[in-house]
Amino acid sequence: MRFVARVIVTPKPVVNDPQGITVRNGLATLGFREVSDVRVGKYIEVSLEVAGELEARKRVESMCSQLLANHVIEDFRFEITPGVAAPS
Protein backbone atom coordinates (compact mmCIF):
# COMPACT_ATOMS: atom_id res chain seq x y z
CA MET A 1 0.00 0.00 0.00
CA ARG A 2 1.22 3.47 -0.74
CA PHE A 3 1.58 6.11 1.93
CA VAL A 4 2.96 9.59 2.25
CA ALA A 5 4.72 10.54 5.46
CA ARG A 6 4.89 14.26 6.17
CA VAL A 7 7.76 14.80 8.59
CA ILE A 8 8.42 17.98 10.51
CA VAL A 9 11.86 18.41 12.07
CA THR A 10 12.35 21.26 14.52
CA PRO A 11 15.25 22.45 16.66
CA LYS A 12 14.95 21.28 20.28
CA PRO A 13 13.72 24.00 22.65
CA VAL A 14 17.08 24.02 24.43
CA VAL A 15 18.96 24.73 21.18
CA ASN A 16 19.50 28.35 20.18
CA ASP A 17 17.77 29.12 16.91
CA PRO A 18 19.43 32.19 15.36
CA GLN A 19 17.47 31.67 12.16
CA GLY A 20 14.25 31.88 14.14
CA ILE A 21 15.43 35.05 15.88
CA THR A 22 16.39 36.61 12.57
CA VAL A 23 13.02 35.78 11.02
CA ARG A 24 11.21 37.16 14.06
CA ASN A 25 13.19 40.40 13.78
CA GLY A 26 12.40 40.54 10.07
CA LEU A 27 8.68 40.16 10.80
CA ALA A 28 8.91 42.90 13.43
CA THR A 29 10.58 45.20 10.91
CA LEU A 30 7.67 44.53 8.54
CA GLY A 31 5.25 45.59 11.27
CA PHE A 32 4.16 42.21 12.66
CA ARG A 33 4.98 43.21 16.21
CA GLU A 34 2.53 40.73 17.71
CA VAL A 35 4.98 37.88 17.00
CA SER A 36 6.63 36.65 20.19
CA ASP A 37 8.68 33.74 18.87
CA VAL A 38 9.68 32.02 15.63
CA ARG A 39 11.33 28.59 15.28
CA VAL A 40 12.57 27.46 11.88
CA GLY A 41 12.53 23.75 11.02
CA LYS A 42 12.36 21.38 8.09
CA TYR A 43 9.55 19.68 6.22
CA ILE A 44 10.30 16.34 4.58
CA GLU A 45 7.87 14.33 2.49
CA VAL A 46 8.55 10.58 2.21
CA SER A 47 6.57 8.42 -0.21
CA LEU A 48 6.70 4.73 0.67
CA GLU A 49 5.10 1.41 -0.14
CA VAL A 50 4.55 -1.03 2.76
CA ALA A 51 1.98 -3.59 3.91
CA GLY A 52 -0.07 -1.27 6.11
CA GLU A 53 -0.24 1.90 8.15
CA LEU A 54 1.22 0.38 11.30
CA GLU A 55 4.31 -0.70 9.43
CA ALA A 56 4.49 2.70 7.74
CA ARG A 57 4.57 4.39 11.18
CA LYS A 58 7.26 2.06 12.48
CA ARG A 59 9.46 2.49 9.42
CA VAL A 60 9.10 6.26 9.28
CA GLU A 61 9.90 6.48 12.99
CA SER A 62 13.14 4.59 12.28
CA MET A 63 13.93 6.80 9.30
CA CYS A 64 13.55 9.86 11.49
CA SER A 65 15.66 8.60 14.36
CA GLN A 66 18.40 7.20 12.09
CA LEU A 67 18.72 9.93 9.49
CA LEU A 68 16.05 12.57 9.04
CA ALA A 69 16.54 14.14 12.48
CA ASN A 70 19.63 14.47 14.62
CA HIS A 71 18.37 13.58 18.10
CA VAL A 72 21.05 15.76 19.73
CA ILE A 73 19.59 18.98 18.35
CA GLU A 74 16.22 18.15 16.74
CA ASP A 75 12.77 16.84 17.55
CA PHE A 76 10.52 15.27 14.94
CA ARG A 77 6.87 14.46 14.41
CA PHE A 78 5.05 13.09 11.39
CA GLU A 79 1.68 12.17 9.99
CA ILE A 80 0.97 9.30 7.62
CA THR A 81 -1.70 9.45 4.95
CA PRO A 82 -2.58 6.76 2.44
CA GLY A 83 -2.05 7.50 -1.21
CA VAL A 84 0.52 9.46 -3.11
CA ALA A 85 1.96 12.94 -2.68
CA ALA A 86 0.32 15.67 -4.73
CA PRO A 87 2.39 16.66 -7.77
CA SER A 88 4.41 19.83 -7.04
Binding site: V15, P18, L68, V72, I73
Partner: protein
Protein backbone atom coordinates in the same frame (compact mmCIF):
# COMPACT_ATOMS: atom_id res chain seq x y z
CA UNK B 1 53.59 7.33 11.08
CA UNK B 2 51.34 6.92 8.10
CA UNK B 3 48.55 9.47 7.68
CA UNK B 4 45.34 8.77 5.80
CA UNK B 5 43.28 11.69 4.47
CA UNK B 6 39.67 10.81 3.71
CA UNK B 7 38.06 12.25 0.58
CA UNK B 8 34.29 12.53 0.19
CA UNK B 9 32.56 14.19 -2.77
CA UNK B 10 32.61 17.83 -1.69
CA UNK B 11 35.67 17.59 0.56
CA UNK B 12 38.00 20.47 -0.19
CA UNK B 13 40.76 20.48 2.44
CA UNK B 14 42.16 17.07 1.54
CA UNK B 15 45.00 18.50 -0.55
CA UNK B 16 45.87 21.06 2.14
CA UNK B 17 46.13 18.30 4.76
CA UNK B 18 48.00 16.08 2.31
CA UNK B 19 50.46 18.87 1.56
CA UNK B 20 51.29 19.43 5.23
CA UNK B 21 51.67 15.70 5.89
CA UNK B 22 53.88 14.88 2.92
CA UNK B 23 55.65 18.16 2.09
CA UNK B 24 55.99 19.90 5.43
CA UNK B 25 56.09 17.00 7.87
CA UNK B 26 57.67 14.56 5.43
CA UNK B 27 55.46 11.71 6.63
CA UNK B 28 53.79 8.96 4.62
CA UNK B 29 50.44 9.86 3.11
CA UNK B 30 47.50 7.98 1.60
CA UNK B 31 44.27 9.47 0.30
CA UNK B 32 41.30 7.34 1.36
CA UNK B 33 38.36 7.44 -1.06
CA UNK B 34 34.98 7.39 0.70
CA UNK B 35 33.75 4.33 -1.19
CA UNK B 36 36.73 2.19 -0.24
CA UNK B 37 36.42 0.34 3.04
CA UNK B 38 40.20 0.33 3.32
CA UNK B 39 42.37 2.43 5.63
CA UNK B 40 45.58 1.25 3.90
CA UNK B 41 47.42 0.60 7.13
CA UNK B 42 47.28 4.21 8.29
CA UNK B 43 48.06 5.10 11.90
CA UNK B 44 46.19 8.38 11.88
CA UNK B 45 43.08 9.06 9.80
CA UNK B 46 42.27 12.69 9.05
CA UNK B 47 38.74 13.73 8.11
CA UNK B 48 39.37 17.10 6.44
CA UNK B 49 37.25 20.20 5.87
CA UNK B 50 34.76 20.88 3.11
CA UNK B 51 31.13 20.19 2.33
CA UNK B 52 30.91 16.41 2.06
CA UNK B 53 27.82 15.47 0.01
CA UNK B 54 27.01 19.16 -0.21
CA UNK B 55 26.07 19.16 3.51
CA UNK B 56 22.69 17.94 2.32
CA UNK B 57 20.05 17.43 5.05
CA UNK B 58 22.56 18.41 7.75
CA UNK B 59 26.28 18.93 7.61
CA UNK B 60 27.97 15.52 7.92
CA UNK B 61 24.61 13.69 7.88
CA UNK B 62 25.17 11.72 4.69
CA UNK B 63 28.95 11.32 4.91
CA UNK B 64 28.68 9.09 7.95
CA UNK B 65 27.14 6.34 5.81
CA UNK B 66 30.14 6.10 3.49
CA UNK B 67 31.84 2.65 3.43
CA UNK B 68 35.06 4.14 4.75
CA UNK B 69 33.27 5.32 7.91
CA UNK B 70 32.56 1.77 9.11
CA UNK B 71 36.28 1.04 8.91
CA UNK B 72 37.07 4.29 10.72
CA UNK B 73 34.64 3.35 13.47
CA UNK B 74 36.32 -0.04 13.98
CA UNK B 75 39.73 1.63 13.79
CA UNK B 76 38.70 4.11 16.50
CA UNK B 77 37.40 1.25 18.67
CA UNK B 78 40.83 -0.36 18.46
CA UNK B 79 42.45 2.88 19.62
CA UNK B 80 43.53 4.23 16.23
CA UNK B 81 43.97 8.00 15.92
CA UNK B 82 41.11 9.80 14.19
CA UNK B 83 41.37 13.54 13.58
CA UNK B 84 38.32 15.44 12.35
CA UNK B 85 38.91 18.99 11.13
CA UNK B 86 35.94 21.30 10.47
CA UNK B 87 33.60 19.19 8.26
CA UNK B 88 35.48 16.20 9.68
CA UNK B 89 34.42 17.21 13.20
CA UNK B 90 30.82 17.57 11.99
CA UNK B 91 30.95 14.08 10.45
CA UNK B 92 32.39 12.53 13.63
CA UNK B 93 29.52 14.01 15.67
CA UNK B 94 26.89 12.76 13.21
CA UNK B 95 28.57 9.33 13.24
CA UNK B 96 28.39 9.24 17.03
CA UNK B 97 32.17 8.99 17.43
CA UNK B 98 32.08 12.29 19.30
CA UNK B 99 29.22 13.72 21.42
CA UNK B 100 27.26 16.87 20.64
CA UNK B 101 26.57 18.52 17.32
CA UNK B 102 27.70 21.48 15.23
CA UNK B 103 24.95 23.94 14.31
CA UNK B 104 24.70 27.22 12.41
CA UNK B 105 26.93 30.03 13.67
CA UNK B 106 24.98 32.21 16.10
CA UNK B 107 25.64 35.26 13.92
CA UNK B 108 24.29 33.38 10.85
CA UNK B 109 27.46 34.58 9.11
CA UNK B 110 30.08 32.38 7.49
CA UNK B 111 33.16 33.29 9.50
CA UNK B 112 36.60 33.13 7.94
CA UNK B 113 39.16 34.59 10.34
CA UNK B 114 42.09 33.91 12.66
CA UNK B 115 41.18 32.64 16.12
CA UNK B 116 43.16 32.02 19.27
CA UNK B 117 42.81 28.67 20.96
CA UNK B 118 43.59 27.84 24.56
CA UNK B 119 45.04 24.33 24.72
CA UNK B 120 43.55 22.48 27.69
CA UNK B 121 45.03 18.99 27.19
CA UNK B 122 48.68 18.41 26.37
CA UNK B 123 48.72 14.71 27.18
CA UNK B 124 47.04 13.65 23.92
CA UNK B 125 48.72 12.32 20.79
CA UNK B 126 47.34 15.42 19.03
CA UNK B 127 48.76 17.99 21.47
CA UNK B 128 51.86 16.47 23.07
CA UNK B 129 54.10 19.12 21.47
CA UNK B 130 52.05 21.92 23.03
CA UNK B 131 52.87 23.56 26.33
CA UNK B 132 50.42 23.85 29.23
CA UNK B 133 48.08 26.77 28.55
CA UNK B 134 49.52 27.35 25.09
CA UNK B 135 47.59 29.77 22.90
CA UNK B 136 47.54 28.65 19.27
CA UNK B 137 46.65 31.04 16.47
CA UNK B 138 44.65 29.00 13.94
CA UNK B 139 42.09 30.17 11.36
CA UNK B 140 38.47 29.11 11.08
CA UNK B 141 36.36 29.01 7.95
CA UNK B 142 32.83 27.85 8.63
CA UNK B 143 29.14 28.68 8.70
CA UNK B 144 28.17 25.83 11.02
CA UNK B 145 30.82 25.66 13.70
CA UNK B 146 28.62 26.39 16.69
CA UNK B 147 29.24 23.44 19.04
CA UNK B 148 26.20 22.35 21.01
CA UNK B 149 25.68 19.69 23.64
CA UNK B 150 22.80 19.37 26.10
CA UNK B 151 23.59 20.34 29.72
CA UNK B 152 24.17 16.76 30.91
CA UNK B 153 26.56 15.95 28.04
CA UNK B 154 28.33 19.29 28.41
CA UNK B 155 28.81 18.71 32.11
CA UNK B 156 30.28 15.27 31.42
CA UNK B 157 32.65 16.67 28.78
CA UNK B 158 33.93 19.32 31.17
CA UNK B 159 34.27 16.98 34.16
CA UNK B 160 36.17 14.39 32.14
CA UNK B 161 38.47 16.97 30.61
CA UNK B 162 37.32 16.20 27.08
CA UNK B 163 37.49 19.83 25.97
CA UNK B 164 40.81 20.24 24.16
CA UNK B 165 40.60 23.70 22.58
CA UNK B 166 38.65 26.79 23.62
CA UNK B 167 38.34 30.10 21.76
CA UNK B 168 40.22 32.77 23.72
CA UNK B 169 41.74 36.21 23.27
CA UNK B 170 45.44 36.53 22.34
CA UNK B 171 46.42 36.51 26.00
CA UNK B 172 44.52 33.30 26.68
CA UNK B 173 41.41 34.63 28.37
CA UNK B 174 38.34 32.63 27.46
CA UNK B 175 35.82 35.44 26.93
CA UNK B 176 32.59 35.80 24.93
CA UNK B 177 34.23 38.34 22.61
CA UNK B 178 36.69 35.68 21.48
CA UNK B 179 33.93 33.25 20.51
CA UNK B 180 33.37 33.50 16.74
CA UNK B 181 30.35 31.23 16.44
CA UNK B 182 28.40 30.92 19.71
CA UNK B 183 29.78 27.50 20.72
CA UNK B 184 28.82 26.56 24.27
CA UNK B 185 31.64 27.26 26.70
CA UNK B 186 33.73 28.62 23.79
CA UNK B 187 34.47 25.03 22.76
CA UNK B 188 36.55 24.77 19.58
CA UNK B 189 37.64 21.15 19.84
CA UNK B 190 36.89 18.03 21.89
CA UNK B 191 38.26 14.54 22.27
CA UNK B 192 36.50 11.27 23.07
CA UNK B 193 36.83 9.76 26.54
CA UNK B 194 39.64 7.48 25.39
CA UNK B 195 41.66 10.32 23.88
CA UNK B 196 42.13 8.91 20.38
CA UNK B 197 39.37 10.71 18.45
CA UNK B 198 39.71 14.49 18.17
CA UNK B 199 37.33 16.92 16.52
CA UNK B 200 38.17 20.58 16.01
CA UNK B 201 36.56 23.35 13.96
CA UNK B 202 39.69 25.45 13.22
CA UNK B 203 42.06 24.50 10.38
CA UNK B 204 45.59 23.63 11.56
CA UNK B 205 46.57 22.61 8.02
CA UNK B 206 46.12 26.24 6.91
CA UNK B 207 48.83 27.51 9.24
CA UNK B 208 51.67 25.04 9.05
CA UNK B 209 54.04 27.20 7.01
CA UNK B 210 55.35 30.74 7.62
CA UNK B 211 54.28 31.83 4.14
CA UNK B 212 50.64 31.31 5.11
CA UNK B 213 50.89 33.57 8.14
CA UNK B 214 51.58 31.18 10.98
CA UNK B 215 52.88 27.78 11.98
CA UNK B 216 50.93 26.98 15.14
CA UNK B 217 48.99 24.32 13.24
CA UNK B 218 52.19 22.42 12.60
CA UNK B 219 52.55 21.76 16.35
CA UNK B 220 49.53 19.47 16.18
CA UNK B 221 50.82 17.56 13.16
CA UNK B 222 54.21 17.16 14.82
CA UNK B 223 52.51 15.91 17.98
CA UNK B 224 50.74 13.16 16.05
CA UNK B 225 53.95 12.22 14.20
CA UNK B 226 55.80 11.97 17.52
CA UNK B 227 53.15 9.68 18.97
CA UNK B 228 54.16 6.97 16.50
CA UNK B 229 57.19 6.26 18.63
CA UNK B 230 55.04 5.75 21.73
CA UNK B 231 52.79 3.32 19.84
CA UNK B 232 55.80 1.22 18.81
CA UNK B 233 57.11 1.12 22.35
CA UNK B 234 53.83 0.17 24.09
Amino acid sequence: MRFGVVVFPGTWSDRDCGWVVSQVLGAELSYLWHKDADLKGCDCVILPGGFAYGDYLRTGAIARFAPVMDKISEFADRGGLVWGICNGFQILCEAGLLPGALIRNASLEFRCLWTNLMVERTDLAFTSKCEERDVLRIPISHGEGNFFADPATLSRLEQRGQVVFRYCDPSGRVVPGANPNGSVHNIAGIVNARGNVLGMMPHPERCAETELGGTDGLKLFKSVAASALKVLVS
